[in-house]
Amino acid sequence: MSLFAAAVVVRKELVDSLRDRRAIVSMLLPALLGPVLVSFVLQQRVVEARSGDQVRIAIAGRDGEALAAWLQQQSGVSVVALRSDAEAAARAHEADVTLEVEEGFARDLARSRPAHVRLFTDSTRAGVEPKARRVAGLVNHFGAELAAQRLIVRGVAPSVIAPIALDRFDVASARQRAALLLNVVLGIVMVTLVTAGMQVATDSTAGERERGSLEALLLNAVPRWQIAVGKWLAATAAALAGMAVAIAVMDAALSRLSLEGLGLRFHLGPRDAMTIFAVMSPLAFLLAAIETGLSCFAKSYREAQGFAAVLILPVVVLGGAFASYPVADHAWVSWLPVIGQYAAASQVLAGKAAAFDAAIGAAAGNLALAALAVWLVARMLSSERMIAGR
């Protein structure tokens, strides 16, 4: 038995879908929107992380000259004197951060008593938190310098009150930090896999049945499994195309962002991009098979869309579970759909040795389940319910 009829079905479904605006939109929209969304969020985080570099401080209170003069010398800091009420000025966003030097500040300093400074911010303003942290740090630093001077005056080494020196190191390489980002990238690729093939899977089964063309199709002396395989592979092709677009757009968008501010670098390059595509592609076969199968149970095209859309949930939840729990070290994990792909893709990109086995395991598990689902589709197409059950 040749696979000719299945190939005929694949070609027809793809031609049909390429002329279907809904199919094109559902294939491209998540693939384009996901990367754009991620880039936007990351860009915001970069901007936020850098926002402490430049800060405008307004200082109220007559005794604050010394503090103001010291702050003025720090890089990226500009200081303005404030005549009005500090809290009102903070509400009116007159500066990024408003300081109020309390009455008797200079006197308290001179008497070595705690001198009070109040710091006002509006935490609902975007990017203000890093600025506030920096200003608080600067004020403390100013205090520490004063303390050191006082100790020196009294003949005590300032190191006496600094018994511990804590030095912090982050040994994660830029590439490893990028792996965190990779989970987000993989998540978007997964969602694209679900959505990109969905229109083809539902339209070619439930849609065909609803429009009455399925009956005519089933009259063509073709084995039902060939029709099932054809519809499945057409949906798979759409899912793979969507994923390819998503990966390409993601790489283009993320490598243009300067993420050094977040301590990470992200650039896939053709080799890694193709690796991700290869590792994830078995999932396209599985998801397309499940979507086609679910659509056979649906009474209408809309119902089928609803069924298929539910698939996004397990894919996203499993992705989240993988990111939260360190299950990737167990060998059996690689056989699970979705989690297996996450594990294999992150191992491949981290350059780990077991990566190849993990990828093969993930592919085998998926394809076995896909075959089962396609067999079910063929069974469904053979059932009288598909014709008489409308």
Binding site: K12, V15, R19
Partner: protein, 239 residues
């Protein structure tokens, strides 16, 4: 030659066909006449192998469609109740798709499509997508699609339903031509004039049973009526 022998078919508790037997011979137009819900479409689906009979069998050129569905379907061309066309494919693409599925390819298939397009007067529409086609145009495309593999047996489920006069005439001409070529044509209808005008042999179905069969004249004579319509009502009520 299509033969239905003592077929019984039920869906759950509802009996759709009860001990139905009839024969549609080659070179003859056989009409399955019955009211809506009489079991005409179910009977045709049993013949084409889409439904399996609970008892009895249906054969197409002696191939049992319940046993060898594909074998029966190879000998059969069917136009279903709904035309069931693909809105985004052109007229020619629809015919080519079904031709390909039946293993036809290349220049031979294209010549066959050309002949069908010409015979049905679809030349101007051949390269257009069927989305904007009228009901009659759709029926013609569905007919061309069902005939692409040159079947010896042709089933038409309510072929002229909802067609205007001109389209109805075209379809009738095609049916007569199929008969002249010696094919077996089996079609269902609830329209008396249609059946009276076309059929050499009429099988009257009511409640899933055959209540009478014969030529239009025989049926009218047997019921003691003047028109086929009166005869049909009398026979259906009798059953």
């Amino acid at each position: 030659m299509i033969r239905v022998v003592r077929v019984r078919k039920s869906f759950g508790a509802k009996v759709a066909l009860e001990d139905l037997s009839f024969e549609a011979r080659d070179g003859r137009v056989t009409g399955l006449l019955g009211a809506n819900g009489a079991g005409k479409t179910t009977a045709l689906r049993v013949v084409s192998g889409l439904l399996r009979p609970d008892a009895g069998n249906a054969t197409v050129d002696d191939v049992d469609s319940g046993v060898d569905r594909e074998g029966a379907q190879r000998r059969l061309g069917v136009v279903t109740d709904e035309s069931g066309l693909y809105a985004r494919l052109t007229c020619r693409e629809q015919i080519r798709y079904f031709g390909n599925l039946r293993g036809l390819r290349g220049a031979g298939l294209e010549r066959r499509i050309d002949r069908l397009v010409e015979a049905l007067g679809l030349e101007e529409l051949a390269e257009r997508r069927v989305a904007g086609f009228s009901h009659g145009e759709r029926r013609k495309v569905a007919l061309a699609r069902a005939l692409v593999h040159d079947p010896r047996n042709v089933i038409l489920d309510e072929p002229t339903n909802g067609l205007d006069v001109m389209s109805t005439r075209t379809v009738r001409a095609i049916v007569r031509e199929l008969r002249a070529e010696g094919r077996c044509v089996l079609f269902s209808s609830h329209v008396m004039q249609e059946v009276a005008a076309l059929c050499d042999w009429i099988v009257v179905v009511a409640g899933g049973r055959r209540v009478a069969q014969g030529t239009a004249e025989e049926l009218v004579a047997r019921a003691g009526m003047r028109t086929l319509e009166d005869a049909f009502v009398a026979l259906a009520e009798e059953a």
